[in-house]
Structures are given as C-alpha cells and as structure tokens.
Amino acid sequence: MIGIVSYGSYIPRYRIKLSDIAAAWKKIPEEVVESLGIAEKSVPGIDEDAVTIAIEAARNAFESSALNPESIEALFVGSESHPYAVNPTSTIVGELLGIGNNYLAADLEFACKAGTAGIQAIAGLIEAKHIHYGLAIGADTAQSKPHDALEYTSAAAGVAYILGSNYLIANLLAYTSYSSDTPDFWRRDGIRYPSHAGRFTGEPAYFAHVMGASQLLMKKAKIHPSDVAYCVFHMPNGKFPREVAKRLGFTKEQLAPSLTVSAIGNPYSASSMLGLAAVLDIAKPGEKIFMVSYGSGAGSDAFLWEVTEEIVNMQRLKGKGKSLVQNQIQEKTYVDYVQYLKQTHKL
Amino acid sequence: MNVSVVGAATTKFGELWGVSPRTLAHEAVEGALADADIAKSNVQALFVANMLAGPLGGQQHLGPFFAEELGLPVPAMTIEGACASGGLAVHAAVNSIRSGQYDTVVVLGVEKMTDHKPEDVATALMGAGSNEERLAGATFPGLYAILARAHMEKFGTTFEELATVAVKNHFHASLNTNAQFHNTLTVEDVMKSSKIADPLTLLECSPISDGASAVVLTKNHKGIRIIASEVATDTIGLAQRESLLEFEATKEAARRAYQKAGVTSKEIDVAEVHDCFTIAEILAMEDLGFFPKGKAAAVIVRGETTLGKTKKLVVNPSGGLKGCGHPVGATGVKQIVEIVQQLRGTAGKRQVAKARIGLAHNVGGSGATAVVHILKNI
C-alpha cells in the first residue's frame, strides 16, 4: 500500500483584495468579486519564488514527521513559475532541505497540475519498490498581466507531500489521469505573461478533463460520490469547482472544507494540493477523499485517498498551530495595488 | 630608533570634480616635502594608503603608479585596511624606520570617490564588512546605526546627543580652509535631515569625498615625534563581536599605545578620532579612555571637547571625518597632519592652546581594525 506519510503547506502572508485590483482598473469591485467567488488572493514577498516556497512547504512536511530528509529518494517539483527556464528547481530545494545526493530529482511543468503529476509518478516508483520515500511538491508564484482577467486569481503557495509505504496517514486507493491536447492557456518561451482562450477554458478544457478523469476514477475504483466524505477539485476560481462537484453528484458539504480559493485565490500547481491539505487537517480515520486536479493544455489527475488511524497522531501534533491550512490562510498582511505590482516584479 | 614627522600637508577635501588622483598626490606629497625641506632624492620609500581605486577605478598596484607619477623611483607599496588604510600606512612607515631599513619615507593617503554613483560607492565600501553583512543588504550607515541603537538602548544616549557630534565637528570645520564643509549646523538641522538608516540621518554620516594627505617621516629628529604606533584587529562582522557597545580593537590599540608612550589618556591635549558617523565619535571617546563607557555623549553636549569652550581635550579640531570630509585612504594620514600642525602651533584658527601631546585614532570597517598614534612635541 502506498500513500501519504506527511504533508506541509506554505502560503505567503501578503494578500490583496480583489476589490482593490478592480478599483485600480475602474471596474465595479462587487461584480468582480461576485463573478469569481474570490475575495482576496495571496501575494508573494518580493524575495519569494517557487524555490523558497517549495522549501517552506517541505520543511513543514518534515516537521510533522520523524522522517530524516536523507530518506527521500525522489523529489519532483511541479510549477508554472520555475525560477529558471533551464536549471532545476528540484535540486536547489533538495540541497537546501538536506536530502543528500541519493535521489532522483525532476522538475515538472503542466500548468496547474504539475504537482499532482509528481504524486502519480512517485507513487509508481514506490509501488515498484524502486524507492521507499518520495517528495512531491507543487509550488507557484503565478504570474499574470496587469488588467488581464487572470490578474484577479493568480496567487502564490506551495504544498509538499511525503509519500511512502509505511506509517501512512492516508492510503492511495486508486488513481487515474485524463489527458488531451487542448490549448486553453499557454505561455510561449521568452514571453513574460501567459495567454488564455477566454471561455474556451471552461467546458472543453476544465470541465471536460475534470469530468473525464473523475469518471475514469469512479469506474476504476468502483465508487460513487456518496461513498466518500470529501471531494477536492482544482480551483481556478470560486465557481468552477462548485459546478463540477454538483455535476458529478457531490454535495456542498463534501466540497466546502477544500475551497481555499475564496480566501487566497488560485496558486496554480498548489491549488488542489492545498485543498487536499485543508481536508487532511480535519479528516477522520476511514474517511475517503476524492481529489482531481486540472492543468491547462490539458489534463486532470484523479486520486482516491483513504485516511488512516495515523491521522489522529498527526492532527494532535499539529494541534491548533501554524501548520494548519486555515491558520495559514488567516496569517495575513494586506498590500495595496502598487505594493502588489512591486512584489510581483511588475514595477 | 625614534621616528619624527618632519613634513605634513593635505589637499582640500571635497567634491573635486576636475582634480585627478595624480594631481591630488602631487599636491600632498610635494607640499609635505616642501614643508620638510627635504629633496625627493632623499626619500627612500613610499607607502600609499588607498581602498577604492581598484574596485571603483580599476587601478591597483598604486605603489609603482604613484612612485612613477611623483618621480620617486623607490620601494613603494599600497597598504589597505578600509578606512584605516591611512593609519596603517603610517604604522608600516614607522616600523620601516624603526627597523633600520629606511631613514626617510613618505606616506601618501589618497582617495577619489566622487567619480562614481553613491550606490556604487556604498557597495564598494561594504567590501570592508563581512559577506554575511553584504548579503543582508547592510550599508555602513546601517552597521553604525545598529551600534547607535545598541548604545541608545543600553546607556540612554539620545538622538540629540548623537546629533551634537555633527554640530561640533561642523563648527570646527568652519575654521578649516581645507575642510569639505564650511557651514555650521544646529542639532535640529541634523535631526531633520533625511533618514539614511534608522536612527542615523544624512547629516550624521561622513560624506563621500576626494582628497589626499601626505607626511614625511624620518629617524632621530627633533620636533614632532611619534611616540606610539599601535594596531589591533577584531572580527570583521558585527555579529561576531563580543560586544556591540564598544570597539575592542580601539581599546586594545589605545592600551598598548599609552603604555608604549608612557602617557595616560588624561595627558592627551588634542585628538583626531574616527567619526565616520556620529556614534563612532562617542564610542571613540569611551574606548580611548577619555570618558567612562556610556558617559561620553553628555560630555560632548556640554562642549567639553569643543574648541574655544574647553580648557581640556579638544576632539577633531580639523572637523573630523564629518566636517572635514572622508576620502577613505587619506583620512588616517590627514589626522597625523592635523596633530602635527596642532603640536607645532601652526593650526591658526583651529589651534588648541598649548597642545603638547596629541592622539590620532583611525578605524577600519565597523571596528575590525583600529590604529592609534600618539605624537609629542619634543
């Protein structure tokens, strides 16, 4: 059996209210907030990037575990904002975490599902008994062009999962993936900001792939929505995950604990991974979690997790402290639009 | 072997746009040789003090550079110790005579800083700090601001007391034709000037300056004798110091200097100390043994080290680094020039009455090097 040994998340403390962004562009703030279902988004510090965020998330994962970093034999970092076009994020992170040299390092890129692709790849390595422990991280300081629609949602965060086959807090019961060539969101090499295809990012992109992967998983694992306690979906805004949950037959209560998007926006590769972390903070032994990511271009990775008895110890260890996702969401300092532009290197 | 200063000269310090390092060197060295009434042919070695010609100007190897420029085909070398370069070069020159290697040598301190943008100068000056300090984004005003804050927290030193140092030194500088600044200041002027690194303001920081000073040293002469020349070092970065409330290097160099010279701090009539920032003068007063730790600020405020207001020790009659200017490599040599003029009685409007024993205190970085010279009119 393979699954999660430990997890850690990190959200940069700065926030900007969507109403402040809207005001800067003379849009009606209430309309923007209502249409997106997001009140504010996280903003990285001027000296934060996917590397520093990945390190914080991974350190939190190690802090909730007795595992020695040198036990990690595979480290995959998925991001849409790797600091280098050529030079791996994963080895910088590995070095500064003290992982040593005996590991497979790889950087993954696939819009918002680069992190979850890493989970599936590492799960395979563990199942094949090629490695004992692996670390899958999704971390982003998502970029967007000022005045573009994406400016309201692109955020920053990182989540790390230590995967193994011992001392699991959640078993990975089944996983699938659904992929196709669907160019809904892209960025050419050398071009600073990504572009998107407007409404095309909806039905043929997000919904087709999330539904596709979900249906594949339900068939493979022989389960129905009523069999699981929670569902987690990639959150590009507040509306899409609610709509897809409804279509698949999940209830609002099953979805609610994972909806980090309304408070911090869309941290791309960390989005669904953060939703899962928020659920793990409160889940009880035996509960199942249905999780589906989405990456533009396009694809969805689907996972069925089952929480074990070990989660009780982990939750006791975390207590009501800083590592809980809801507490990280509340640890915040607001910035204004000019400061936001400085911190995201646009000024 | 005794060592005396027989010639001393300095250029004006300031923003000298049209003046090159070569011109500055000529003025200082030829002035010092004329003052000594010594011909170039009698000079046996040249010691050059400079910090930034390499990083900012791309020119190092200043020994032969100035030897050639000055027409002194003699053994020549550069001594570098950040802002203590001048004092260290004098120390090296003194030792070269005491050892019997040379009889008569010239020490030239020269620096050209205004050719470059202030941010680039600030970065180059941080070469005097530790790598950790550079990576933290520290500047020299920042490092001394840290010391000021520590002093304020421990001893209750106030913003006004710090500002008074700048006021005093500007007053002294107004009497010095070679000083960079001739304007006098009030405490309010200083406190209202723009903030550089809290709590230090612009007018509490010594300026970026050009200038050169030179001295001629010779053996066994009457006149102004160097009766102590001592150097001490401490850790390069502040975090590694034993204390943030004092410069151990200053205390150590001073201790040895007083001992070798056979004098106490109470016998010093005039002192040029290293006031790169206002707090530095307060620390110097305490670490040189002039006033007890934590008490110097109040003394300065009472005017007890100001020309014309005190019958005792006068500190920084030249205007110090703050008022006279601080071309880094030149400062330590200028301090000797000032003390020599004071002890000879030729300091004009800046004259400290009956000055017989003088002290020059030159510091490198945030206290990593300290050089103390004691001079006496024999």
Partner: protein, 98 residues
C-alpha cells in the same frame, strides 16, 4: 553577479542555518540601500542571537514596525538575496518575526 561557484560553496552553510529560532539583539532600518538591493528598501537589517548562542546578521522580512525591537523572536528562513538578471540566483538566510 555572484560567482556560481561561490554560491555552490556556500550552500552547506545556508542549509545548516535554516529553521533556527533566535531573538533580535540589534537592528536598523536601511532606507538608502546598496545598488543590488534598490528594489527592496526600506528593509530592516538585524543582528540575531540564535538559541544556540551563535549570532548572525540578516535582513528581516514579513515585518511591521512593532517587530523592530530588542528581544523580538525570529526564525531563519530561505529567500532570494537579490535579483540578478541573467545570473545564477543567490538564495540565502533571512529572518522573519515569530
């Protein structure tokens, strides 16, 4: 640009200093920064005494006015030191208030 070789050599030092707690023993607020830090000012530079007694100098981040005091508890973290255009990125130790 800091030499990539120097950055490489310093990594072990950085890795061993991260995640440590300490308190501020001295501080200043830099308003006029050196060239490489121009986009970050104003920022505090602090001397921290770690719980093991070692002292280090570092930039303080994620701060507000109330954190600039003697005795403020801090933790060491990894951040980018400064932007380097097309050069290797120097990551290093900074501190954030606890």
């Amino acid at each position: 640009m800091i030499s990539p070789v120097k950055i490489w050599r310093n990594q072990k030092k950085i890795a061993s200093l991260v995640g440590k707690t300490g308190k501020i023993v001295a501080f200043t607020l830099i308003r006029v920064p050196p060239a490489d830090f121009s986009n970050q000012a104003p920022y505090p530079v602090v001397v921290i005494e770690l719980t093991d007694g070692k002292r280090i100098t570092a930039q303080l981040v994620d701060w507000d006015e109330s954190n600039l005091k003697m005795g403020q508890k801090v933790q060491t973290i990894i951040r980018k030191i400064f932007e380097t255009g097309d050069g290797v990125i120097p990551y290093g130790i900074k501190a954030k208030p606890l």
